[in-house]
Amino acid sequence: MTPDRASRVKSKAGNTPAIGQLTLARFREFYREPEAVFWVFIFPILLAAGLGIAFRNRPAEASRIAIVSGATNAPVVDSLKKASGIVVETLDDTAAATALRTGKVALVVVPKADGGVEYRFDEARPESRTARMVVDRVVQRAGGQKDPVPVAETKLSERGSRYNDFVVPGLLGMNLMGSGIWGIGFAIVDARKKKLLKRLISTPMSRAEYLASFLFFRLALLVIEVATLIGFGALVFGVPLRGSVLQLVTICVLSSLAFGGLGLLVASRARTVEGASGLMNLVMVPMWVFSGVFFSSGNFPQAAQPFIQALPLTAVNDALRANMLQGASWGMVSHELALIAGWLVVCFTLALRLFRWR
């Protein structure tokens, strides 16, 4: 009846492996979306630059104080005016009170006729407490006080202990988390909503290859992300890279896979981008706050530490800092690596079990 069909040889020519085509599709979907490129590559650098400028190491600030005019205690006034680290303004009583209240000065010094001085300041303001100590020291020395214990000072500003050194690994960890969860989560939920997932599983496509294409895409992008952020930190702020490169690569790859697994898990059932978005915030916001991105997670109370230490981003940030800032041995980061690997296994297993293809 239809000999031409039965006799036709099906062509195997011109075919390329599905995993390659799927991974290519991930790249095309990414770089043809300029906004995504901005959030993944440009935004972390802008953030690092902003924080770097805000928290750059500055020389110790001078204490600004006011001396109430009409002073009778000349030696004290003179020594304060000469002292380094103190900026003195002479104001009348009312003006001095206003300056103190509006924060223009940290301390008001009122010299007394009997040779004593009165300090007026708000004890709740740290700069006022500092000013009081600095001023009092000058005043007492002018009055003849001698230091009974000799003191020597060494001033430090070492690479690896500044705020920039702290924040760059934190931003790297945050970036690995964000692009893993957003990059994978949104793409999958979008494909599910558009019924593209259903269309794909109606072909002989391997489901494992489809999910793997997201991981390959993430790993390839990882190289660029890590290189830009670390390169920026090293060139602009001189953030050190003391650990082994192999260890750094291991930490980044393992973290990226773990966050990718978390992204898959978050996206495994959600049908709408809005629903997935809420879930992603639920997962990510606690880690932004607790996992020591911008400030040490040690600031939180002891009772919260077991929870904080179990978060994947805490482990990632700790491991990155240990590698970059301390040049840690493998033994020093083994605990963190084990924790990240644990998250990876749990997230993938759950995601594959829960995943909804329709």
Partner: protein, 314 residues
């Protein structure tokens, strides 16, 4: 030589599927022969999509058996997938990819099949091969969806409402593609709620309503089963209106139905009934506002079987 019955490309027996309390399909049987174009015709919500998705192995039935190309989903799922071509209702392919990239992606899923160039040519998208999917018109998107279904060189093609929402030219282009596939010996199962599409494309149709096949046969046989040579549609102004017994008493009238503001009469011969109808209306002083006749269609078959119209907007 007596013709043996052609082998079945698709055999469905005793199919049943419910979503909670809503029964989508009840006791549905189908047999699609190899090499034919088979249409599932019915209104929205009749259970067409549920039926076709069970046949495609995307949904599991509550009861019943499905045999596709002689195989079952539970045993030979993976092998079956590479012999089927599927276009779902309302799939959106990735908007960022080009036409060529999309087809190449789908081609990569199949162990063997047509070349990307060949398929793009088949659906006449050569000029659009480097265009992003997001920039295509509805008709072009639908042709791309069919291209992705054809690229594995399937033996059996499932199309769920392939032309819904398309302009007439795009519909005709898709019909040509489906015709070509059939002429090469491929088997097609499609769903539609357009009776003209079913009449134009399908060797046989099953009319589905409320999850059951209510009629099955070639479009010609189904229409012939009405026994009507023509359908007369007319409207009158003023009241009181004409009544059904009056119309049924006219020469050659087989059935009379009120649809909206007008009447539809199935008659054996229009030239016998129309003079009688005009006479009856004139004697009641009712002016005619419209009068049309057409050959009976599958739409009339559906209306006769269910008392309802096939399309929501008809």
């Amino acid at each position: 030589m007596p013709a043996s019955p052609p082998p079945a490309a698709l055999a469905v027996r005793g199919l049943r599927k419910a979503y909670g309390d809503v029964v989508a399909i009840q006791a549905l049987d189908l047999e699609v022969y190899s090499g034919e174009c088979f249409g599932l015709l019915g209104p929205n919500g009749a259970g067409k999509t549920t039926t076709i998705e069970i046949c495609e192995g995307l949904l599991a039935p509550d009861a019943g058996t499905v045999e596709v190309l002689g195989k079952q989903w539970s045993r030979d799922g993976k092998a079956l997938r590479s012999r089927l071509g599927i276009a779902l209702q309302e799939t959106q392919l990735s908007e960022k990819l080009t036409v060529e990239e999309s087809v190449r992606l789908f081609r990569s899923f199949y162990p063997s099949g047509r070349t990307v160039d060949e398929v793009i040519g088949l659906v006449q998208l050569d000029e659009k091969r480097t265009a992003r999917v997001g920039t295509l018109s509805g008709g072009q998107k639908q042709r791309l969806a069919v291209a992705c279904a054809l690229v594995g060189d399937p033996d059996l093609l499932f199309l769920d409402e392939p032309t819904t929402g398309l302009d007439p030219q795009s519909r005709r282009q898709l019909w040509d593609i489906i015709d070509n596939f059939r002429n090469e010996g491929g088997t097609t199962v499609l769903t539609t709620h357009y009776m003209d599409e079913a009449e134009r494309l399908c060797d046989r149709v099953a009319i589905v309503d409320h999850g059951k096949v209510i009629s099955l046969g070639t479009p010609r046989a189904l229409i012939a089963s009405l026994g009507a040579g023509h359908v007369i549609e007319f409207g009158v102004a003023g009241s009181p209106d004409v009544d059904e017994p009056t119309l049924l008493a006219l020469a050659g009238v087989k059935s009379a139905r009120r649809a909206g503001g007008s009447w539809a009469l199935q008659v054996t011969a229009a030239h016998e009934t129309i003079p009688a109808l005009l006479g009856a209306l004139a004697s009641r002083g009712l002016p005619l506002t419209e009068l049309r006749t057409h050959s009976p269609t599958l739409e009339d078959v559906f209306v006769t079987l269910t008392g309802r119209s096939l399309r929501d907007d008809a």
